[in-house]
């Protein structure tokens, strides 16, 4: 590992440009290591986000060689082509500066999809009994580990074509709540995720599922929402 990496990093806002840096290759080097090396050794003005460095917090996602990835768990050896890396901010989100995007719209859409848990019980009620092997709970298990990194959102063509589209992560969150027997406001939630800005806009291209670093399938969650909303519409409950 003696050679240098040629790393093109996006600098500036939407009107910015790539700037090239030379970074020494190291064993077990991650893309986040590369970005951190640039900021600490070459250019302290480089802006980027990270927190946990172990794939839990979802804050370090970037576009690496054209694909959205979590930089802390992406090894350079896996993605570098001819010792070259191109690192850009996530797509489909406004650029604040360098590799930092404005995530407000992404998280506002979680709220618009009724991603908040609204309880039906009070503190005086007994604990809810949720059988771990029940079909609803297993649907939740398959979708609940989302870390909110925005990779699915940045990878989704429908988000690019339809700015109102809630996106895979928000719809995936809504699907976990639709299956939660303790959650209220289900009719409101179904109405929020239906239609042209919701699950019915999904073309099932599955890029979100292919790119999800937690190996979740927002595509399957969205398909579940399509079935649930269709049933509700046919029953006149939507």
């Amino acid at each position: 590992m003696s050679s240098d990496l040629d790393v093109d990093v996006w600098r500036g806002d939407a009107q910015g440009a790539y700037r090239r840096y030379q970074v020494p290759r190291q064993d077990a080097q991650t893309v986040l290591d590369v970005v951190t090396w640039i900021q600490r050794r070459l250019d302290p003005t480089l802006a980027y986000r990270f927190a946990c460095r172990v794939g839990m917090c979802g804050s370090c996602a970037m576009t690496v060689n054209g694909k959205a990835r979590w930089s802390c768990r992406t090894h350079v050896a896996k993605v570098a082509q001819d010792n070259r890396l191109t690192i850009a901010p996530l797509a489909n989100l406004p650029i604040v500066r360098d590799l930092v995007t404005d995530m407000r719209e992404f998280f506002d859409k979680w709220a618009r999809a009724k991603g908040q848990f609204s309880p039906t019980a009070t503190r005086r009620d007994d604990f809810a009994r949720v059988v771990p092997t029940s079909p609803a709970r297993m649907e939740i298990d398959a979708a609940i580990e989302c870390i909110g990194c925005g990779i699915c959102y940045a990878s989704c063509d429908v988000v690019a074509w339809n700015p109102a589209y809630l996106g895979p992560a928000a719809l995936n969150r809504a699907w976990t709540l639709i299956n939660d027997s303790r959650a209220g406001d289900q009719a409101v939630r179904l109405a929020a995720v239906a239609g042209d800005a919701g699950c019915h806009a999904c073309h099932t291209q599955s890029t979100c599922t292919e790119r999800c670093p937690k190996l979740l399938s927002p595509t399957a969650s969205i398909a579940g929402l399509k079935r649930a909303t269709a049933r509700a519409a046919l029953k006149g409950e939507l």
Binding site: W161, A191, H200, A201, A230, A233
Partner: protein, 112 residues
């Protein structure tokens, strides 16, 4: 458009897609079988005119197309042309009516 209306459009498009898959297969198979050995327009019309079965089959085919296509065009208009709202909906509905009229005329011409 309300969430319920948009969901009903989605259901209508999926249902007609399933119907069209069947209709297209029957249509293609019929064409291949019917022209074996050569057929003239007169022979075809001789078989289809007055045939209630073919009239119903192609009537359903045309109806499914007239429902399916404008819903898809509405999505294409929104995603590729950024054209959404009442005017886009009305234009796509008009295309549906046009397809129904032209298809209906064609079915009538070969079955009545």
């Amino acid at each position: 458009m309300s969430a319920r209306s948009e969901t009903m459009l989605w259901i209508a498009q999926r249902a007609t897609a399933a119907l069209l898959a069947l209709c297209v297969l029957v249509h293609l198979a019929t064409m291949i079988v019917a022209v074996r050995g050569g057929l003239t327009a007169t022979e075809i019309l001789g078989r289809t005119r007055g045939n209630v079965g073919w009239a119903m089959f192609y009537g359903v085919f045309v109806l499914a197309v007239a429902i399916h296509a404008p819903i898809g065009l509405r999505t294409v208009a929104g995603e590729w042309l950024q054209w959404r709202g009442h005017a886009a909906d009305a234009c796509c509905a008009a295309i549906g009516v046009l397809l129904l009229a032209l298809g209906g005329l064609a079915v009538a011409a070969v079955t009545l």
